[in-house]
Symmetry: C2
Subunit: 217 residues, 2 copies
Amino acid sequence: MPTDRTASHNARDIRVAVVEDDEDIRTAVAFLLDDTSGFVCAGAFPDAESALETLPSANADVVLMDIALPGMSGVDAVSRLRAQGYEGEIIMVTVHKDSELVFKSLCAGASGYLLKETRPARLLDAIRDAVEGGAPMSGHIARKIVQSFHRSTASPLTGRETEVLSKLCNGHSYKMVADSLCISEQTVHHHIKNIYRKLHVHSKSEAVVKAIQDKLV
Amino acid sequence: MPTDRTASHNARDIRVAVVEDDEDIRTAVAFLLDDTSGFVCAGAFPDAESALETLPSANADVVLMDIALPGMSGVDAVSRLRAQGYEGEIIMVTVHKDSELVFKSLCAGASGYLLKETRPARLLDAIRDAVEGGAPMSGHIARKIVQSFHRSTASPLTGRETEVLSKLCNGHSYKMVADSLCISEQTVHHHIKNIYRKLHVHSKSEAVVKAIQDKLV
DNA sequence: CCGCGTCTCCCCCTATTTGGGGATTGCGCC
DNA sequence: GGCGCAATCCCCAAATAGGGGGAGACGCGG
């Protein structure tokens, strides 16, 4: 693959926009893109506000988004971009390994999440991966995401209680749980009382939320 | 990196077990592992039952698990393995792109998910990635997982209704919602009636479940 | 300007849920 | 055998939730 300094660009190049407040990094990435055959920098912005204003007309296939920006955060910028109708790929590129930010970014509509320690060649791979329908992620980030699916191993609930709770999570009432488990409504009542005590909650919906959060079902 | 046919193995090799009913594939992977410096095959099993019996004593760092097995499925095998206390990495290796199986596998305790089209060199990379704390996934699988986090763009609810619903998802009662939004309980009641009508549900817990499933909050 | 949707508040009533008490059976474990 | 635990069933009282009606205020667009 040619990587000459004066790479000529054409319509099939991947158009990449960069949102990054550190000027050194921003220009370095822009140069990297423009100097690599198959890529072209479609815009470089130092903050979310200017990106939101100009990006809609930049026709970018991919946006590289920093999280720590002056003013609006990168996560909020992703939400706004999606609200504007932007449908390209958005890859977060940040130093933050913090789980909260990872999940917030994905919920907001990011397609990938790279740490800034990512090397240039890997960054270009990630961009290609994203446009080909993948979801580029740094290793430990991917693990965090996968772990968020894992069922809790140690539950304080008994087998029957877990069954009842899972029925509640399907939206069942006491009566419906009783029917579907073939026990009396009083027994369901009893199990639910124990569930509430063990989970430290006082209502069906609290129990459902906790069950989903703690992956008890 | 040496890859001689008679690779000698030592204690620092990655111990990999294979569960795969196709004999050709199973032996090919076993040979690949034993022939590659840094890896050693710690067991090869044609079905889940024999794997569950022998794996605990095999001391495997990584298990490659097929999903379509005769008898117990690979997903159930993962659950059982985790229930047995196995704490190594488990990578699903399968032809199934079906979302349901992907999520079920991750919930059961898998650390990665590769499609069988994965090439040998990439397979070895994935095993290394897993032991180093990553979560190897084929591109389209990773995208499915990431997309499962994305907030729904089009909600039938109004802004206020969404606020109320999100309070319900935090386990609030009518009174608590009223207090935290500084409106009367009657108004909360009214919003909730509208939410129920729009979401086609008839109880708080059903609404909470639907909100989480449809990513309305 | 007038309708439509949103948000606010109020009335009514019934059904469901919540929290407390207690009792019995069976099962495994020391 | 006795103990604890899980699971089943029962009674009661109060709080909450669900479903129906109506009504006023505000803003936005035809």
